[in-house]
């Protein structure tokens, strides 16, 4: 843990050498995500709700999903950009270190420019929670549970990111896969799952289980259905999915062939 913190602080210091670039990148990244939500707000301002979910209820889903994926992008930047290690042959250098390649990838770098998206997600969460006008008990339960659902979301996102990165052992390039395994599902998770056709719902509750991250618990927390199991499922599913992702990563490493001379 000490080593991890030292590596992280080193990465942070190097990034802060370019403060202006960091600020402008963070702001502009936050702006992109904010515009997305403003457009959704424009729709819901005119049409009130989407299949029974008002703006603040959707905002809760949107905020959780945004914070989860941006935290993944901040802390797991090297896993996300893993294809570079395959294309440029840098993965060999990770294999000869006395620390596991995954630990090295997780501590090597931070993408702080994505933090603007996290802040924007938190802002949407705050606005939505205020707008929901929950009673004290509901509010207490929601605030207590929020870190759990966000952490579960980060784990699901990391697992999806790691599975996609592992594919690079065979395909080298993974950017196009990421659109399929990360961007599209997390975009879908911004909205309630009940709006999607059956086949999409099956995908989002099985092979790409983003539905468990926010929809399942929020359904119960906002009294829209389900029971206390809805609160247990996100951490449970995320841990199982993480286990599968780690096994697949190890399988990938075992089958890795370097492009040596």
């Amino acid at each position: 843990m000490n080593l991890y913190l030292k590596l992280l602080s080193g990465s942070l210091r190097s990034r802060m050498q370019y403060k202006m670039n960091f600020l402008v990148s963070s702001l502009s990244y936050g702006l992109i995500m904010a515009v997305d939500f403003v457009l959704l707000a424009a729709i819901l301002q005119r049409f009130d709700d989407v299949k029974g979910w008002n703006l603040y209820e959707v905002g809760l889903l949107y905020g959780i999903s945004s914070v989860a994926i941006t935290l993944y992008r901040v802390f797991c930047v090297e896993v996300h950009n893993f294809e570079r290690y395959m294309i440029e042959g840098e993965f060999d250098s990770l294999l000869i270190r006395p620390v596991s390649p995954l630990s090295l990838l997780l501590t090597k770098n931070l993408d702080l420019s994505r933090i603007g998206g996290t802040i924007q997600g938190i802002l949407i969460l705050v606005i939505s929670i205020i707008g929901l006008k929950l009673n004290n008990v509901e509010l207490f339960l929601l605030l207590i549970y929020l870190p759990v659902t966000i952490f579960s979301g980060v784990l699901i996102c990391f697992s999806l990111g790691l599975i996609t990165a592992t594919i690079a052992f065979w395909t080298q390039r993974i950017k196009d896969f990421q659109t399929f395994t990360l961007y599209a599902p997390f975009n879908a998770a911004n909205y309630p799952m009940n709006i999607y056709p059956g086949w999409l719902k099956i995908i989002f509750f099985t092979v790409i289980p983003v539905g468990f991250m926010n929809y399942t618990p929020v359904l119960f927390l906002l009294n829209k259905g389900g029971d206390t199991w809805n609160l247990a499922l996100p951490p449970l599913v995320s841990i199982i999915f993480l286990f599968i992702a780690l096994r697949f990563w190890k399988f990938g490493i075992r089958h890795y062939h370097s492009t040596g001379s």
Binding site: N21, V24, S25, L27, S28, Y29, L31, I32, V35, D36, V38, L39, L40, A42, I43, L44, Q45, R46, F47, D48, D49, V50, K51, S113, T171, R173, K175, D176, F177, T179, F180, Y183, A184, P185, N187, A188, Y191, P192, N194, I195, Y196, P197, L200
Partner: protein, 259 residues
């Protein structure tokens, strides 16, 4: 002609990544299904309050997902920033070709590739699943071709502008983010711009972003008169003239820096 050869080479280069692009097309279609689901959910029982029916919005989103590959998802800064960072731009500007056409013709080749291997397959996916509008009048096809061509030129120009700004700023990530956000946000990617709240709904029709996405889609759906092509034409001329001028300024700046 050298620019036509550059366009062809760029087309052929992209052909190397057909399989990866097909996977990406599936993701693009899923984005489309998500947006369509949002609109169907929003309009359920409220179609009389909207100028668009659920079917209209299905067609709209399906067409937008296809058009985006021609005028939305362009190379960030048309890669001009890389040349600025590694110094290669000095050589590129010294070539006996027009730098603006040299860069834009390569991107045009990529967009032509996108038409055949991105837009058409995505359109087919929508055609066989949720439905895809087929224009009913022959002149629509003629106006659609012009409108899409202008949309591509507008978008290439906007991306060129972002790229060439690297001659002054070096870093263009933020400019690309802002440009892309405005393009999809004010271009009508998720919300047709006439549904945006005032005053945005009255300003956006005259901005270049509408010319890049909204107008070609509305012409395709036969919901806009061909007059909107004039707005696109104005932006094509303004942006192209401005970029030719700014390229000369960039060349001048480079000479000073190098001297």
């Amino acid at each position: 002609m050298v620019y036509w050869i550059l366009l062809q080479k760029s087309f052929m280069r992209n052909m190397q990544y057909k399989v990866a692009h097909l996977i990406n097309n599936a993701a693009s279609a899923i984005f489309g299904f998500v947006f369509i689901a949002i609109w169907i959910g929003v309009l359920q029982g409220k179609e009389n309050e909207s100028p668009y029916s659920a079917l209209d919005m299905t067609y709209y989103i399906a067409a937008v997902q296809c058009i985006l590959w021609l005028s939305g998802f362009l190379t960030a800064g048309l890669n001009i920033q890389n040349g600025v960072r590694n110094g290669a731009i000095s050589l590129e500007l010294a070539r006996p070709t027009n730098f603006f056409l040299y860069v834009t013709s390569q991107e045009a080749g990529r967009l032509l590739y996108n038409l055949f291997f991105r837009s058409l397959p995505i359109g087919l996916v929508f055609f066989f699943t949720v439905g895809f509008y087929i224009p009913q009048h022959i002149p629509t096809y003629f106006f659609l071709c012009i409108s899409i061509l202008f949309a591509m030129i507008i978008s290439i120009n906007l991306h060129y502008l972002v790229g060439v700004s690297a001659c002054w700023t070096t870093e263009i990530n933020w400019a690309h983010f802002v440009n892309f956000t405005l393009l999809v946000g004010l271009g009508g990617q998720l919300v047709p711009i006439d549904l945006l709240p005032a005053p945005l709904s009255s300003i956006t029709p005259y901005l270049p972003f509408a010319g890049a996405i909204y107008y070609p889609v509305m012409i395709f759906l036969e919901k806009a008169s061909s007059d909107v092509i004039l707005i696109q034409l104005v932006w094509v001329m303004v942006l192209t003239s401005f970029n030719l001028w700014i390229t000369e300024k960039a060349r001048h700046k480079l000479e000073i820096q190098g001297g």
